[in-house]
């Protein structure tokens, strides 16, 4: 049976799940505690999705931003090897700098250098406030990045002070912004968003017209209905008026 025993795993692509986490001062306390708790708990779920998936393996990267930015690890790691270090909150909200930093790593010389190739990444942005820096340039540059363009992008707005318009600009779509109003909802939505975007992002796309981004958003929407204190962003879209009235 030697010829059959020599079988090796099919080559798998890599799908990197990015957590981009606002760790500015306003996140201090319960909010950042809930983020830490939720991410630690979701990692084993991602590990399981990855282990049984013949299409791709899932790696995780995390970028925190406050007055500056910092990656938790200098490269994406398998969920099984990703030991979460609790992040702490203080300082400002250098969102523009975070966009620039993310863009620099969304490249083959950065984090996307898997030998057997990648699927488009999934990027989860969590924020409870508004940028305190001049974010437009950083975000505009990020939006030109091809990896970012192809990525599944979901934003979680924590509370009413989060700048919905910025989050919407980041995801490119108001439907991909989900708002939570309490700590439990925050924990639940992090789990749902991370699991759903990993499940869909790490598999060969479905035939037909719906995009991965649309499928992820639809599934999260269904889940959000049953989470108390979570909601889809209001459909009021002010961005189209912006240019006219500036």
């Amino acid at each position: 049976m030697s010829l059959l025993d020599e079988v090796v795993s099919v080559p798998r692509r890599t799908m990197v799940l990015f957590f981009v986490i606002d760790t500015s001062g306003s996140m201090m306390g319960n909010k950042i505690g809930a983020v830490n708790d939720a991410v630690v708990n979701v990692l084993p779920m991602l590990e399981e999705i990855s282990a049984t998936n013949p299409d791709a393996e899932i790696k995780v990267a995390a970028l925190e931003f406050s007055s500056g930015t910092s990656w938790l690890y200098s490269e994406p790691k398998l969920a099984s090897e990703f030991v979460w270090q609790d992040v702490t909150a203080s300082g400002l909200t250098a969102f523009g700098e975070a966009c620039t930093e993310l863009s620099s790593k969304l490249s083959r010389s950065g984090f996307m250098k898997s030998a057997s190739g990648s699927f488009a990444p999934a990027i989860i942005l969590l924020s409870d406030g508004a940028p305190t820096d001049n974010y437009e340039n950083g975000l505009a540059k990020l939006k030109c990045n091809n990896w970012f363009k192809a990525a599944i992008k979901i934003a979680i707005a924590i509370g009413d002070d989060a700048d919905q318009n910025v989050l919407k600009e980041f995801t490119g779509n108001s439907e991909a912004v989900f708002t939570v109003h309490n700590i439990d909802a925050l924990k639940q939505i992090i789990r749902v968003v991370a699991v759903t975007s990993s499940q869909i992002g790490s598999k060969s796309s479905t035939a037909g017209e719906t995009t991965k981004q649309e499928q992820v958003v639809d599934e999260i929407k269904d889940a959000v209905d049953s989470i108390d204190g979570a909601e889809v962003a209001t459909a009021v879209d002010s961005s189209s008026y912006k240019d006219d009235w500036d």
């Binding site: 059959l4 049984t52 796309s205 991965k212």
Partner: protein, 424 residues
Amino acid sequence: MSELKKGDKISLAIGGHITIIKELGRGGQGIVYLVDVNSQQMALKWYLTPPDDAFYQNLQHNVQQGAPSDAFLWPKYLTKKEKGSYGYVMDLRPSNYYEFGNYLLAKKSFKSFSAMLAAAMKICDGFMMLHRFGYSYQDLNDGNFFIEPTTGDVLICDNDNVMPQGEKSGIMGKARYMAPEVVAGGIPDKYSDRYSLSVILFMLFFANHPLEGAKVVACPCLTESFEKKFYGSEAVFIYDEKDKSNLPVRGVHQNVIRRWPIFPQLLKDTFREQFSQETLKNKNNRLIEQGWQKIIATIRDSLVICPICGEETFVDLTQSEYTCMNPNCAGKFKPAAILKLGLRDIPILPKSSLYIDNDNIPDAKVVRSQDDQNLLLIQNLSASPWIAETPSGKIKTVEANGFMPVKVGIKVSFGSGNKAEIIQ
């Protein structure tokens, strides 16, 4: 979103109820629970979000029709719509069956080539029966198949998306398993199922994808638009005769590089034909399930036990002397005789199992006589007697479990119109 908990009772559409015991697993669409149905343990697939009424009616129809064959883990009962959703009940999957993905990830492997061929035969049979019932599968992919590694027996799961042909369930399969015309937005049908069948069979035999070679691996980011090209508009078979742009890559596509040379030419020719540009684009050229079954039966005829090393080997039936494919052996040997069955030439060698039909149950086995080591016998493993005619015209009955000698000139009738002759 609606989840159930231990002890919850759900009513069945036909009356009566089931009781939730525990969760067994969950996927994108729903949760599978272990349930009690009249003191019998079964599985309930419960949708997190209830699909529409048409989906419910389709399920109801499928439950009433019953499973096309025993290869399907088919919906047996439908629940009423309650607790915010609904689901269906099916038999439990035995624990010795493993998801096809586990074979692709090399976590499980077939115990023999014979088991691998049995799995291929069973999958073809399942699809043939499915299409005979007028269904198409729609979202076929590696997650639907569970395989027993020793026997190669197969269970086809997730049959809730089985639809009458021409209808669209809305739940689409993964691009890498779908026919180019479906990737381009077409409606799945039995022709696209046949394409998916070829992909599944290729992956079963070679443990790599038929369209994923140099061209695909060179793509750093497999975005959805690239997938539409590689599995749709610009699909190229890795061993395409004319287009060498997508050959398997050493160090990446190791399995197919190692296995492609050892499988019989017939199988390789069939895949080359099925994944040729002509067939990719013309769905009418795709081999029907019975066509695949004939090919697999012939491949199985060429699988024998090497008398020198005792391992399985494929042999070239067009040659009079065979060479063992195992690199450590490479021994040469000849068949004792050939059983000519219609167009099939089945080599007779000690320890060979002979398959007359396609049901994966060996109908005969070649053994050595205990009295005379030089005499080979064919044992009747079927439940009914065979009628044999000796070269001198005597008629003999070979009872179930009985034996007949391997002697050139004997004609034998296996029943069901299958007649064969032993030739040199």
